[in-house]
């Protein structure tokens, strides 16, 4: 493996593992706030206990996000030094703002939220919960702003020495790419948290333990999940797709497996990519649908890969194509599952419908897979660029770090994260097993 490949795998592995945790942190922060609000409105112990249970899960998950997050910031300097040096004047802004505005807020009020319920009283405790929610969503904003700038750079100036300088602070923060990417990502976090809460609730109902809490969890999660799954597809996913279509048309062609420019492009639902023969095996397509979704005209022209020189093509088209299709496919299934569950809920049959509860419980891993596939789509789709149109990926690495050094630390992280994963699963299953009842 050459050094560039190892550096890419290094970042890909650590960031993929890292983002398993913040997506639940950010989504659960919102659901916790809903439970806390219900507790304030009903005044009973039930919702307080429900919130305390999820706060315990939240704390373990949050700690995992913190310890796996620190390496992300470091890696900009350690493995991607030339990128950091040329772009640090721009993305240093958003990364430093995350540290100053979000991390201090989150860490201070998480302590108050977890340890201070008695001393603070219910209202101040709600405020602490709100600040944790606000801090985590602000953190997400700055990180997505950083990625959005790499996807679609705005507000910058290229200096003669190759340095990329900030020219407009608001140009950076009001990047048109950022709004939809941020909303799409955050609502995705709510989808993950909804499925996790629904799965735990369904588990309690199926195993006939903590059933009052199981019903609360399932009800809250299905309502939040139904709304968020729909918002995931429309408008946020739709708008995000249009961003790609307008600003990265070659990426759109690769995502859709569209080799040739056509009027009235079909939408591939399934099919395996054959790059050499330039066609899809075993395709199931919807005629003209891609043209309509992108340009609102059934016969609009959509550019295929043949419209672009191969050196501008993403360098791993099959991975991009599959991850995009996994994301969209799962997203569609999530809408179906959550809307059906909501319908059952309305008819009063959800808590006793074993097939539905089984579905909710077993659906647990899939939002994580969808989110990961979504980020792979975004980041592999950006290739061969590190900063779209400005800096190619191989030109951003740390030139003095050998492939051997990078592989050593990649293996080290794999070992360390395997340990973390075991500890996390052990602690979380223990909390779930213990349940929300307080002894």
């Amino acid at each position: 493996m050459d050094a560039v490949t190892v550096h890419r795998l290094h970042f890909a592995f650590t960031v993929t593992f890292h983002y398993l945790f913040p997506q639940l942190t950010m989504g659960l922060a919102l659901l916790l706030l809903i439970l806390k609000t219900m507790a304030l409105r009903t005044g009973g112990e039930h919702y307080h206990r429900a919130a305390r249970f999820w706060a315990r899960v939240f704390a373990i998950n949050f700690a995992m996000g913190v310890v796996t997050g620190i390496p992300m910031e470091f890696q900009f300097g350690t493995n991607w030094a030339r990128f950091s040096r040329s772009a640090g004047g721009v993305i240093g802004q958003t990364l430093a703002m995350e540290g100053v505005f979000s991390f201090f807020l989150e860490s201070s009020f998480l302590g108050a939220f977890l340890f201070g319920e008695k001393r603070l009283g219910p209202r101040a405790h709600w405020v602490a919960g709100f600040l944790v929610f606000f801090g985590s969503w602000l953190s997400g904003f700055f990180i997505v702003a950083t990625d959005a700038w790499m996807q679609h750079p705005t507000g910058y100036l290229l200096a003669p020495n190759g340095e990329i300088r900030l020219q407009s602070f608001w140009g950076l923060l009001l990047n048109p790419w950022l709004l939809w990417q941020y909303l799409h990502n955050m609502i995705g976090a709510v989808v993950t948290a909804s499925f996790v809460m629904a799965a735990v609730g369904a588990f309690y109902l199926l195993s006939r333990r903590h059933e009052a809490y199981g019903r609360t969890f399932v009800r809250t999660a299905v309502l939040a999940g139904a709304i968020s799954s729909v918002l995931m597809m429309f408008p946020t996913g739709d708008q995000q797709g249009k961003n790609v279509a307008y600003h990265q048309p070659v990426t759109l062609a690769a995502m859709e497996g569209l080799f040739h420019t056509v009027n009235g492009a079909p939408l591939a639902i399934v099919g395996q990519l054959d790059l050499d023969a330039q066609h899809l095996d075993n395709p199931i397509t919807v005629p003209n649908a891609l043209s309509f979704l992108t340009y609102q005209r059934w016969k609009a022209e959509v550019k295929g890969l043949d419209a672009f020189p191969p050196e501008l093509w993403p360098d791993n088209i099959p991975l991009l194509y599959y991850s995009y299709h996994i994301m969209v496919g799962l997203g569609t299934i999530f809408i179906a599952v959550m809307l059906l569950a909501a319908l059952w809920l309305r008819r009063g049959a959800l808590y006793t419908s074993r097939p539905m509860l089984w579905t909710l419980m077993l659906a647990l891993p899939f939002p994580y897979i969808a989110t990961t596939a979504g980020w792979i789509t975004a980041e592999v789709g950006r290739q061969p660029w590190l900063i779209y149109g400005i800096l190619r990926t191989p030109d951003g690495t740390s030139a003095r770090i050998s492939a051997g050094s990078a592989l050593f630390t990649l293996i080290g992280f794999m070992g360390m994260y395997a340990l973390l994963a075991i500890l996390f699963l052990f602690l979380v299953t223990r909390e779930i097993d213990h349940g929300p009842e307080e002894l």
Binding site: V67, F76, V100, M416
Partner: protein
């Protein structure tokens, strides 16, 4: 503008060392001053709600460094590749050990967590010390402003440069002893009974080692990096920083909160002395001096630094506000039972 950001980054790093320094120091001493399970839980309770927030200063300091001096961030982080990765692993292990100590009791996992916590804290203090030594000594920057240092070659001074040589090892030992002292004073301030007595005795003994190290590292640092002496000769008002350190060192002989604050002043004085002495360099070159990174050639463009000042000042004031709030809520001595909620 570059000088303002140099000062702000120095303040962030000093804040990190003072704050995370005491919980690292508490970790180093943990296995030695706390004998029973209850005492060990008390040590952990004294840092339990605080260490995570303290570590945020490292992240925020790193972010600020990245934003203000991207070339420095790129060069130093890639150059110290392996030691930094080890720092990350140690931070992860230490974080897990602290968190799990609250969840897992009993004769097997409790002591394991204690040992990991203790070992990781000690190694982190040593790594941070070595890093500081490297920044003072200088590194072999190439013509494009990068370098790469192995951890060690043959441990000789001035030969083939490595992260560890006699000078940087000396600074590492000094950092280890100083943070152990800082942690001992914190534990003595936060706890009661035998634990307090043992911590105070440990602090008393360590003080002599700290004082001896101060003399040795001051002498050797001026020899290793001549620029330090030039800075103080050119701007004699800079002696105020070593004087703060000296006052802190003397006042550390007192007890309770005062001793801890004196130790904080000592750490701040030492670090600001280094910053003052190194200025305007941020990473001196050990070869051709023209390759050194200074605040001028490592800084981000002017507009970004100006905009940054607008959000940084209120942002960090808010952060300081949260810290005052958190420290006040957890003020006073800890009981020997685990902190509430665990």
């Amino acid at each position: 503008m570059e000088t303002i950001w140099f000062c702000l980054v120095a303040v962030m790093i000093a804040a990190y060392v003072v704050l995370d320094g005491f919980d690292l120091g508490a970790g180093i001493l943990h296995r030695f001053v706390a004998k029973t399970d209850a005492e060990r839980r008390a040590v952990l309770a004294s840092i339990g709600p605080l260490w995570d927030g303290n570590e945020v200063w490292l992240l925020a300091g790193g972010g600020t460094l990245y934003f203000a001096f991207p070339a420095l961030y790129a060069s130093s982080f890639s150059g110290f590749y392996l030691p930094l990765m080890m720092v990350l692993w140690l931070l992860i292990l230490r974080g897990i050990a602290i968190e799990f100590r609250g969840h897992l009791q009993g004769p097997v996992w409790g002591p394991l967590c204690d040992s990991v916590f203790c070992g990781a804290s000690a190694l982190l203090a040593i790594f941070f010390g070595a890093a500081l030594g490297n920044v003072v000594r200088g590194v072999p920057l190439d013509s494009s402003g990068y370098f790469f240092l192995p951890l060690w070659t043959d441990f000789s001074l001035g030969g083939d440069a490595a992260v560890l040589d006699p000078y940087t090892v000396l600074i590492a030992i000094a950092a280890f002893i100083t943070l152990a002292e800082h942690g001992a004073l914190w534990v003595a301030y936060k706890t009661t009974g035998d634990l307090e007595q043992r911590s105070r005795r440990a602090a008393g003994r360590l003080w002599w080692a700290v004082a001896a190290m101060v003399i040795v590292i001051t002498f050797t640092s001026f020899r290793v990096q001549p620029h330090l002496g030039e800075s103080f000769r050119a701007r004699p008002w800079g002696f105020v920083f070593p004087l703060i350190a000296l006052a802190g060192l003397i006042l550390m002989r007192r007890s309770g909160l005062r001793a801890f604050l004196a130790s904080s002043a000592f750490l701040t004085g030492m670090l600001t002395s280094v910053a003052f002495g190194v200025y305007p360099y941020v990473l001196p070159s050990s070869g051709d001096p023209a390759r050194s990174l200074t605040i001028y050639n490592a800084a981000a463009a002017r507009y970004g630094l100006q905009v940054g000042l607008v959000w940084f000042i209120p942002g960090i004031a808010l952060a300081a506000g949260y810290f005052v709030y958190t420290y006040r809520s957890f003020a006073g001595k800890v009981g020997e039972e685990p902190w509430p909620g665990k």
